[in-house]
């Protein structure tokens, strides 16, 4: 912890070595969080770069009221969600998409994202689950991703989302309900 505080202080002075250490120490955490939300490896890498550039530029605004990792998770999740929103906007107004009849129902698209950390025997099912996660409302998606992929406790998730533990429990319960519903629809169509 002291080491972390020292690093942050050094980064506030513009120390490049401290910045490098911070990037190397938290890059997997940031990348994995973003990847779970945007479900695209190239985009996740670009966004992870954005996150660390923001960290370098905004470190002075970090007052130490929360844990550094919580602050970092907040930047990562906000960056990822902003990216998804802008992608959605572009899609909505995309001329070609509208010509071809819009992007249609999300559930009927092929489940094509494979998270590199999923074991081989779970690969296909996880891809189906990721497709369902994609359709969750933002807050449920964040809570579910942080808990399931980053292994955060409900308390940690509540700190990142700046809410209460009971609110996170409720988000998780609704996320599970929604996922079950979507999976039921999916398997009713595709189960052989």
């Amino acid at each position: 912890m002291t080491n972390e505080t020292e690093l942050i202080e050094q980064l506030k002075q513009g120390d490049q070595t401290a910045f490098k250490t911070i990037v190397e120490q938290w890059q997997d955490m940031v990348y994995n969080t973003i990847l779970g939300i945007v479900q695209n490896e190239t985009e996740a890498e670009d966004l992870a770069q954005d996150v660390f550039i923001k960290v370098f530029e905004k470190i002075d605004s970090f007052k130490g009221d929360s844990k550094f990792s919580t602050w970092l998770y907040r930047i990562a999740t906000t960056t990822a969600l902003d990216h998804l929103r802008s992608k959605k906007r572009k899609k909505r107004f995309g001329f070609l998409k509208s010509m071809s009849g819009g992007d249609g129902d999300n559930k009927d698209q092929v489940a094509d994202f494979h998270h590199p950390g999923v074991s081989l025997d779970n690969k296909e099912r996880a891809a189906v689950l990721f497709k369902a996660i994609e359709a969750l409302p933002e807050n449920q998606k964040l809570a579910y991703t942080l808990h399931k992929l980053e292994g955060l406790s409900y308390r940690d998730v509540s700190e990142v989302l700046n809410t209460t533990v009971s609110a996170v429990e409720s988000l998780m319960s609704r996320a599970n309900q929604n996922l079950r519903k979507q999976l039921e629809e999916y398997y009713n169509k595709h189960y052989r």
């Binding site: 399931k148 079950r180 189960y191």
Partner: protein, 114 residues
């Protein structure tokens, strides 16, 4: 086992498919890429500043600013004249309207008194 039960089991398995997922690893050259991007960003701003600070460009910008200011002054002077004539017209109109209004009012009073 019925189809419904099979689907139910498949849903449960799918929901558990992320259990024990390992953390995805970032590109080992992430820091190098971040540095490169930060340098590109800094260079882009340097480019803008060095372009603006060229004497010819700086003088051209100054002349444009002076021209815009001159035009703004000239048009505000012309605007005053127009505004003056407008206010004249407006007062004439108001007078006329008041007259009409008072006549109407007078007439109306006369009508009620009748």
């Amino acid at each position: 086992m019925t189809q419904k039960e099979k689907i139910h089991e498949e849903i449960e398995r799918t929901l558990q498919s992320l259990d024990g997922t390992k953390r995805a690893e970032a590109n080992p050259f992430l820091f190098t890429r971040i540095k490169a991007r930060m340098n590109r960003k800094a260079n882009a701003w340097e480019g803008v500043f060095s372009f603006i600070s060229k004497p010819a460009i700086a003088i051209a910008i100054l002349l444009i600013v002076m021209a815009v200011n001159g035009w703004a002054l000239w048009s505000s002077g012309a605007g005053d004249e127009i505004a003056g004539s407008d206010s004249g017209n407006a007062s004439e109109l108001a007078n006329e309207y008041n007259t009409v209004a008072s006549v109407n009012n007078y007439d109306y009073e006369n009508m009620t008194s009748e």
